[in-house]
């Protein structure tokens, strides 16, 4: 399996690399507009607030957060299709406001929610190849269609493709201009697991071979953990955490302790509940949610209470647990 390389000493085999994207205090407030029904202005919505981050050459950064966290708005601002209320965006050290056509030549984008016109796959890609002034566009299109397993659909109308096929064409579009940075809004949504896996492999290959940087949103936490070097977590438009996927997962203190109990299942349940640990029993299996640093003490106490178990496993917290914990905090607030 193709593995991402660790960023710390030498990401993708190079020493600390150039910054390809630098975002400073990016803020977006959507004006509520005037409501003729209420005869007053609607409340403005704060979608993104003072978001700052940098992405280096060859780095894959995940942009995570629950629905409405501001991920898509951030990506749209980076593309220039949504105007920022405040803040600056720089690609390759240059301000995008002043150098947009030049900079966007080296940027591309794909979203699971985008579609393509009523043209064949080849024609659609050719239009984008021309927009990006790609040299030898036919060759490039052939290569990308082959990489994404879409060669046989070359002359098929884009609208006649399945959601998964269209996603792959949109990814081919995203790579058409040899981008140095890619903005990917849920690029593998609607793909079958095997295709999603091959897409992830392709993305990692592009990262390693050409140093393509990526900003990546996804609701598939396992995918983010596999692909991303670093994760930025947004909640209500603000960055609440920024770390490696493992680093974020480690901030979740609880783990799940599974015990296959031979004798004393009822006692275990009462004991765990008495100490405030959530416990679930299914057959002879007990599942206890417990802080990681309390596991040893808990097991000691079980032994003292003569509760015997034949098998034990500990599920360490994952990025998904972190996501759920953060989303839970949002619902509470």
């Amino acid at each position: 399996m193709l593995r991402k390389k660790s960023r710390k000493p030498d990401r993708i085999g190079r020493m600390p690399s150039k910054i390809v994207l630098e975002v400073n205090n990016l803020t977006k407030v959507f004006d509520g507009g005037f409501s003729f029904r209420k005869m007053k202005r609607n409340e403005p919505t704060l979608a993104v607030y003072k978001v700052s981050f940098k992405i280096h050459e060859g780095e894959i950064v995940g942009l995570l957060g629950p629905n409405g966290a501001g991920k898509t708005t951030t990506i749209q601002m980076l593309l220039g299709t949504t105007a920022e209320t405040a803040g600056t965006i720089k690609y390759f050290g240059k301000n995008v406001k002043k150098n947009r056509p030049e900079l966007m030549q080296q940027v591309n984008y794909s979203s699971a929610y985008a579609k393509l016109p009523w043209l064949t796959v080849f024609e659609n890609l050719m239009v984008f190849a021309k927009l990006y002034q790609v040299e030898k566009p036919e060759e490039r299109i052939e290569m990308l269609l082959s990489e994404f397993g879409m060669s046989e659909y070359k002359h098929k109308i884009a609208n006649a493709l399945s959601a998964g096929q269209l996603t792959r064409v949109l990814l081919a579009k995203a790579f058409i201009n040899f981008p140095r940075i890619l903005l990917l809004d849920e690029p593998t949504a609607s793909l079958d697991p095997d295709i999603a896996d091959s897409v992830r492999k392709f993305l990692l290959k592009q990262q390693q071979k050409y140093g393509v940087a990526m900003l990546f949103t996804s609701h598939n936490m396992a995918e983010v953990a596999e692909v991303c070097d670093r994760v930025i977590f947004l909640r209500k438009g603000k960055i609440v955490a920024e770390d490696t996927p493992d680093g974020l997962a480690k901030t979740v203190k609880n783990c799940t302790l599974r015990l296959w109990v031979g004798d004393g299942l009822k006692r275990l349940k009462a004991f765990a509940q008495g100490r405030g640990y959530p416990v679930k029993v299914s057959g002879r299996e007990a599942e206890v949610v417990i802080k990681e640093d309390e596991v040893a003490a808990f097991l000691n106490k079980l032994a003292r209470h003569n509760i015997k178990y034949s098998k034990i496993s500990i599920d360490k917290p994952t990025l998904e647990d972190y996501f759920i914990a953060q989303s839970g905090r949002e619902n509470e607030s």
């Binding site: 949504t82 105007a83 947009r100 966007m104 985008a114 393509l116 927009l131």
Partner: protein, 260 residues
């Protein structure tokens, strides 16, 4: 047969009517437009029934109105096509600038207009034996002015669609028609009531069609009309570009993706 299910469909369309201004607009706009346009033409015919070149006047009006219609249609429908196919963000996320997009659709309209007009002229000749080209090069400045009129109308309509979205897409077909009664396509401005004549004075196409009739009847160009039309067209074109740019910036504030 269930009346309740039939009613459900009524409700579906009643709700649609509430949100789709275009449907409501269609109900009243087109009949009103036809009544005004053809009513005025009938009044003119009644007064000038004996005019020999009436067929030429009518058919040339019909063909040259296509210049305005086609050039504005290309701007608005090309924008709508991107919206219908959810492709606008894809396109605007490329190095393409909004000015380049405008130039592209305007040029496209120019090329397609030639085909449409060529076809129209040929059809008129084949069906009615009328050769509108008999007036020669004198038509060129008028056609150019009509083409530019189509651009500014198209830019305004496209700007409105960009700002308010597809719920107002009916403007792509109906916007230009609003000017038809005041453009003196088939009848002179003097046929209009006084308030209509005041409006027509601000519509560049009215000078063009009036001027064309002068060319058809006397074989000469009325330079005053041509200059008035040119002055107004240039002003409107600049304003149209400014309006489109403003609406595009407004849409960026709301997010282009929210249009799709």
């Amino acid at each position: 047969m269930s009346l309740n299910r039939v009613k459900a469909i009524w409700w579906r369309h009643a709700y649609d009517l509430k949100h789709n201004v275009g449907r409501l607009f269609d109900t009243f706009y087109w009949p009103a437009l036809d009544i005004v346009l053809w009513g005025m033409t009938s009044v003119y015919f009644q007064q000038k029934a004996a005019t020999a070149d009436i067929v030429l006047v009518l058919l040339s009006g019909l063909v040259f109105w296509q210049v305005i219609w086609r050039s504005q249609y290309e701007v608005t429908v090309n924008l709508l096509e991107e919206l219908w196919s959810h492709n606008l963000v894809n396109v605007l996320a490329t190095p393409l600038t909004i000015y380049e997009w405008v130039v592209a659709v305007i040029c496209l309209g120019f090329i397609r207009m030639f085909f449409a007009i060529g076809f129209g002229l040929a059809l008129v000749y084949w069906l009615y034996g009328v050769n509108i080209l008999q007036v020669g090069w004198m038509m060129v400045p008028f056609v150019a002015l009509l083409l530019m009129s189509g651009w500014y109308i198209g830019l305004v309509a496209a700007g409105v669609i960009l700002r308010f979205g597809m719920r107002i897409e009916v403007i792509a077909w109906s916007g230009v028609s609003l000017l038809a009664p005041f453009s003196a396509i088939y009848y002179p401005v003097s046929t209009l009531p006084e308030w209509g004549q005041r409006i027509a004075a601000w519509v560049p196409a009215s000078y063009v069609f009036e001027g064309m009739r002068v060319v058809l009847s006397r074989g000469q160009i009325d330079q005053a009309m041509l200059l008035k039309s040119l002055g107004l067209t240039v002003i409107y074109l600049v304003l149209g570009l400014g309006f489109f740019w403003l609406m595009y910036q407004q849409r960026r504030k709301l997010g282009v993706s929210s249009l799709e």
